[in-house]
């Protein structure tokens, strides 16, 4: 287990800032402005989460940029770099998620829609929304390792460049279909879907870690 290197984390955190800003602003604005009662099936949060995760993948995965080569040539082991990149991604995601979550949980959203916008749903329906941000967190949990895996796989020196993208898109499509089916099925199938979600996340994290050891900084 690598101890936290604050100097490295600070640089990676700063590097992730554009993605953090997009996620935090996007989710906060959605939470404040969405006129209906929020549900897990609202498309906008999904798109904002996807945009943030894709941007994190792009910002950390520019393996042909001079700044990438710089960080990778400081003497950190590949596992330390990978671990800190995951940590910085987690901090970015948690920041965006907490900002949006606080809007919901502190009843700021409910107050705004009740007092200022005179929405008929609030404050009565506010308790039904409190768990919705948890779904966003679940989506982050899947998309962050998926987007990281895609660029790490693409940066492998001896393998086909686009293979990683296809793997990730296929996995995500299968999971989205699986999630949608869970609504109609109970019992063991729901558990199986949940277990497969955990397995996919774990495989992407572990696979990314292993592949990251042999990627090239090609600036």
């Amino acid at each position: 287990m690598t101890p936290v290197r604050w100097g490295l984390l600070k640089v990676l955190w700063r590097q992730a800032m554009p993605a953090t800003a997009i996620g935090a602003l996007g989710l906060a604005l959605f939470s404040l402005a969405w006129p209906d009662v929020m549900t897990p099936r609202d498309p906008w949060p999904g798109l904002i989460v996807l945009a943030q995760c894709l941007l994190l993948g792009v910002l950390f995965g520019r393996c042909e940029s001079p700044s990438f080569a710089y960080v990778y040539s400081r003497g950190y082991s590949r596992d330390a770099l990978w671990g800190h990149m995951m940590l910085a991604s987690a901090l970015s995601v948690l920041t965006a998620w907490l900002v949006a979550g606080l809007v919901v949980w502190t009843h700021l959203r409910s107050l705004l829609h009740d007092r200022l916008l005179h929405s008929p749903y609030f404050p009565i329906m506010a308790p039904r929304e409190t768990w919705v941000p948890l779904v966003w967190l679940g989506l982050y949990l899947l998309l962050v390792p998926a987007c990281h895996y895609a660029w790490i796989r693409r940066a492998q020196p001896t393998k086909g460049g686009q293979g990683g993208n296809f793997v990730v898109v296929g996995l995500l499509a299968a999971l989205l279909v699986g999630f949608d089916m869970v609504r109609y099925l109970d019992g063991w199938f729901a558990w199986l879907a949940g277990a497969s979600y955990v397995a996919v996340v774990a495989c992407l994290v572990l696979g990314g870690r292993v592949l990251h050891r042999s990627l090239e900084a090609r600036a």
Partner: protein, 305 residues
């Protein structure tokens, strides 16, 4: 512990169809400064990147401080410092931020030394990297590398953009670091005056191959260029000299030798008629290799291009 800080064997690296390195074998003794010379695209930067573990070789092996260049353990990676071409921090990073970044990777990083280096060039520690001049950027990066007190420092054109005074100060700092810490340095440069100033050994590579590797003193005093026409039967050079490198230019083989105690007349007598021997200085030798043409001129100890 190996006597060599760096050892490569038949090292090769391809970028698509291009062979950036092609069977390069090189051993760099500990405690020396090796300057790596070669024309643009010769493979110098590729070699340093492989040694740093940024890219992997297509063929052959490279050992750095006895560990394979790939999969360097953290303990080894932290003992190597690198200043690379196209390897720069983001523009928003300040020297303080870079200092913290480096200190996390290297247990021997000396913050006071780094700050002293910055002070020497009146560099603010809070100034963003992107707002610095090219020379200031190189100074900061090289200072960070030397402040790690690394066992091995790889410097890819560290003096690029520096004014003459700063360049002298930089090479003095490199020399001091190597002497004080029994460290090893590999420096690439295109400025031959820098080589004379700092090098213990010189290696010249071209088209991914090692053409010549010798101590600077030997290059100054004992290296000769031997031109052997194809019509002449190849002489046995082993008795009179060590072969440092060779190229084939049309109908002539050009061989660079280091004399084994014999003077030029003795060598000429032993190699026989038809063979021309010329004295070559470092600059002439480098230009001969870079431009793929032999040193021309009289064979009495003077050379011209």
């Amino acid at each position: 512990m190996s006597d060599h800080a760096v050892q490569t064997t038949e090292l090769g690296r391809d970028f698509g169809e291009v062979k950036a390195l092609d069977g390069l074998s090189l051993a760099v003794p500990r405690g020396t400064i090796l300057t790596l010379l070669g024309p643009n695209g010769a493979g110098k930067t590729t070699l340093l990147r492989i040694l740093m573990g940024l890219i992997e070789p297509t063929r052959g092996q490279a050992f750095v401080l006895t560990a394979p260049s790939r999969a360097q353990p953290a303990g080894v990676a932290g003992c190597i410092a690198y200043v690379g071409d196209r390897c720069e921090p983001a523009n928003w990073a300040s020297p303080t931020m870079l200092e913290d970044l480096q200190a996390g990777a290297s247990k021997t990083f000396d913050r006071a030394l780094f700050r002293d280096y910055c002070k020497r060039r009146d560099l603010s520690l809070r100034r963003p990297y992107g707002s610095m001049s090219k020379g200031q950027r190189r100074w900061v990066l090289t200072s960070l590398a030397l402040a790690c007190r690394p066992e091995l420092v790889l410097l890819d054109e560290p003096a690029d953009g520096l004014d003459p005074a700063a360049r002298k100060a930089l090479y003095d700092a490199i020399r001091d670091h190597v002497n004080e810490n029994d460290a090893t340095a590999i420096v690439t440069t295109h400025i031959l005056g820098d080589v004379e100033r700092v090098a213990d050994e010189v290696a010249i590579i071209d088209a991914g191959r090692l053409i010549l590797h010798a101590p600077l003193e030997d290059l100054r005093d004992r290296v000769r260029q031997v031109e052997i026409p194809a019509s002449t039967s190849p002489p046995d050079l082993s008795e009179v000299a060590s072969v440092l490198g060779c190229v084939r230019l049309g109908a002539t083989s050009i061989v660079w030798i280091k004399r084994n105690g014999l003077d030029d007349d003795d060598v000429r007598r032993r190699l026989g008629a038809g063979v021309t021997i010329r004295h070559v200085g470092l600059e002439a030798l480098y230009l001969a290799i870079a431009e793929h043409r032999p040193v021309v001129g009289t064979s009495d100890g003077r050379e011209t291009q």
